[in-house]
Amino acid sequence: MSDTLPKYWQSLAERAGDPGVLEQARNEFAEELPVGTAFAPPDASSRRDFFKMMGLSATAALVACNRAPVQKVIPYVARPDEVTPGLALWYASTCGGCSAQCGLLLKTRDGRPIKVEGNDEHPVSRGGVCAVGQASVLSLYDASRARFPALSCKRTTWAELDAGVTEGLRKATEAGKAIRVVLPWVMGPTAEAAVRRFLTAYPTARTVRYEPLGELAAIGDAYRVTHGVRMVPDYRFDKAKVIASFGADFLGTWISPVAFTRQYTEARDAAGKREMARHFQVEPVLTLTGAAADRRFQVAPSDLTPALGALVRKLAVKAGRTVPALAQLPAPALEESSLDEMVDALWAQRSHALVVCGGDDVASQVLASTANALLGSEGTTVSLADGMALDADALSYGELLSEVRAGGVGAVLFLGVNPAYSDPRGGELETLLKAVPLSVATNDRLDETATLARYHAPDSTALESWGDAEPRRGVLSLRQPAVAPLHETRSVVESLLTWAGASQPHYDFLRARWEAEVFSRAGAAGQDFGAFWDDAVRRGVVTLPAAAVEAPAFREDGLAKALAGVARPSVEWELVLYPTVSVRDGAPANNGWLQEVPDPITKATWGNQALIAPARAKALKLNDGDVVRVGVGGKTVSLPVLVQAGTHPSVIAVAVGYGRTKAGRVADGIGANAYPLAAVVEGRARRVVPGVAVEPTGEKQPLALTQTYHRLEGRPHVREAELAAFLTNPRAGNEEEGGHGGGNGSHPLSIWSGHEYNGHRWALAVDLSACTGCSACVVSCQAENNIPSVGRDEVLRGREMHWMRVDRYYQGDEANPQVVHQPMMCQHCENAPCETVCPVLATVHSTEGLNQQVYNRCVGTRYCANNCPTKVRRFNWFDYKHDDPMERMVLNPDVVVRSRGVMEKCSMCVQRVQEAKAQAKREGRPLKDGDAQTACQQSCPAKAIHFGDINDPASAVAKLSKDGRAYRLLEELNIGSSITYLTKIRNTGSGSGT
């Protein structure tokens, strides 16, 4: 039977089967789990300690079963003031998921953080949160996180660790050996201050900035060339009218996808602005951004830079400038006409045009910067004044390796970076570190790098620690803990300060720095810092008045040198290593939600694949699931093939972030690690590798896809219109009125008169034009509604449990298809086919128009799911137990955990709606539009989902449902869907029609 059980849940059983592991697990738990310590003196000042207690009573509640076992109620001994059991507390904070640092609201219940939402007041992320940010709350409870500091992977105390580290640092300093702090580019101003304090304390210390994907480094280095400053400008897609992106997946993974998505949808709000930015995408592999583009040109990876060069050349001609450095660039394979189309469009908008470039190639970033300079878009779509300065003095990781090899390094500190896994030279680290007397890692777990370090000083997660961020100059985002550290971990800032001999709590350091540096700039004249601080903590973000900053100017002098190496090799295969929107560079991989959220393009879960073009697959007689060996320079990785439309024929693309070996029980062994295949050019890792060998192994490995059919078969489920047609006819592309009469609002002939909805009537509107398919909603829904992750085996059987999914269809040529995304959830049909067929009334309609599913009444005939025309119902095939005592803490106590054998589906977040209604009632006021938000709506970075009362004519959803773009699914069935879809508008410039 074991092989029929889902793998994810099975792995516990596997562990249980191994007595050694079991013993280890037991010890761990005995020592660390709240059981013994729950009643330890809760420090009166540490207001968030008591979650443990509440966790315990929650455990009791979950254990409770049919017939009255005696249940205990365990109250606090002394209840913290702000906590009322059963009431949610919200903390404004800042995401630590990636360098974008979006604003968050953390929802805690009874002391446990249970949900991450976007902070609407945050001027950069503006209420959106991506999938990774959403999932960070599950990572908080990751059972594989380090629970204590360690020396040589064995438990130690912080005091011993600090003594050892300080001693090691002192020795290194005394010996004149170098101390190297390896850290990411973006840590936040206060953490950078702590790093500076550390560097001051140890004169031989220097920073090494490490970034697995190399994107920020490439931009920084390019701007050092073109503007003399190592920085990342603030890209403003909202101000752009034409966007040309060369391989930058800015909606998916590039720099700050949440902020960019919101800006992008604003720039393309055809309905509101009556105009729409045109988006060109030039890329070798279909990305989320390419899928959204109006015009997508497919090029080989090695052709990206030449193509961009040619574009810049043409721009220079338009601008009447001669840039000699451009002449040396090789000619691109991209057609002249395509280039001209882009150049004309860009030049027409000039300062409102934006050229961006992705990847880790400095030359192409230099070209993008040149293009923006030529267009004059600096200051509008590319703001250098608001940009983010990067550490100008930092060494590269390659330089560090050389130093270590040379024997001059006395201490290395890894601050949350994992080069042993994510650098192609990661394998060398183990031997190299043996020569370094002191090595310390602050990674959150004993991962690939931390196990190599002598000391492990685990950092607390972003949800457990203080901190701040400056995602745009002048926008200061505060991070506050939503819970005291669950384990014996310590904020990296505190660690650095301690080792620098200036030990003080992170909070004090942060507050002091804010008082000294932020408060003074805030222009809050006459205000008391205490009030300012309290307000900042409450809001989570402070926007400082614009300071007059002189933006650096473009200069040509370095171009020739920077562009010297650009070549266009002609090879059979080029390997592209790309990050996915879920596990990104691999850091958050040990997270069931992220592993299971399907890739927005490939729809693959649990692992990476070798993506190849359909034509190439046909030629090689390769099908989905055929395992190929990808090799370069003696290193090989075996991966199943996924035939991916929109892939350049010379490309084999592999996602990074998989194949972890020491991330934990979820991620280990899922997929293969492709980082070792990366090239190393001049000490830098490069994710485009020309000349790899691809050979079929003859093996098969099924792909865990959530969608296996990719064409609409001409069905009108997704409707689209060209901008020009839409501007003349608001119903363009949406003329179809449903098969047999009817149309928006009006009902086809029916023998029944229907029911009246006199009070609220909830409905959703989904703007297909705004939706980018990023899948943040899927994870948000999963977090809000206690949806289990079922594991690879169950996904393979087609049993993922997501209540909402994002359908992705291809149209046109499969070599370079048009892509549409359609969020799909329960349609809450007025005449719901599922309700009629349930024998036991487990699914019926509410008086507020919701299609209710009563789990406890369900006997599990699955008839409803069969009769569901949109197949959005999900069945609990097994007991998907939330049995990890840590991970169970993430459960939302307002939503019941479903047992085996029952059907479940989207409830339109009825618990949130009820809570909003109850709140309004208690406050004695009517419910306003926007009081109740569904989880998917809340986190959508594109604000593509609108929820509200369709009976309230003032509500957004009521207005949208009457829009010319509005249509409902399957109207000819007379199901009366409550979900309105809005036609997708494209701006391909091809005139009219779809």
Partner: protein, 173 residues
Amino acid sequence: MSASVLIGYFDSEEKVLDATRAVREAGYALHDVYTPYAVHGMDDAMGLRPSRLTWVCFGAGLTGAAAALSLQYYTSVVSWPLNVGGKPFNSFPAFIPVSFELTVLFAALTTVAAFLIRAKLFPGNKRVALPRVTDDRFAIAVEPREAPADMAAAEDVLRRHGAVEMARVEVAS
């Protein structure tokens, strides 16, 4: 009180039909006729009236239909009306199948029950069948009369119509 019944055994359907008619025409009261299978024409021969079980069946069927419809109406409209798939509380067309089934169920069970009761068939019944009438013999049972001579005449009638055997049996009345 008990009395002896005269039993005449026959070995074929034709003979027993003839004999039955003859016994009745001779003015004897027929106690009953026992046969191994349902002999067609015997109702006439014995002068039995058609059974009234058809009416029981009809009544029970009506009861079943009424019960089913009221159950469905009560539960769906009165007790807890719920909006199921936008259909009205009283979704009459959808109630027809169950009504039909219950009509048949009530009719069938009631008819059989009425038959069993009327025919006094029940488990634990101590009645014993006459020899071989459940196999290959047909038997006519003639009600006794006061005068023994009459019974002798009856025996004669039976014998003339081919009775292969005669017997007198005491039965409870």
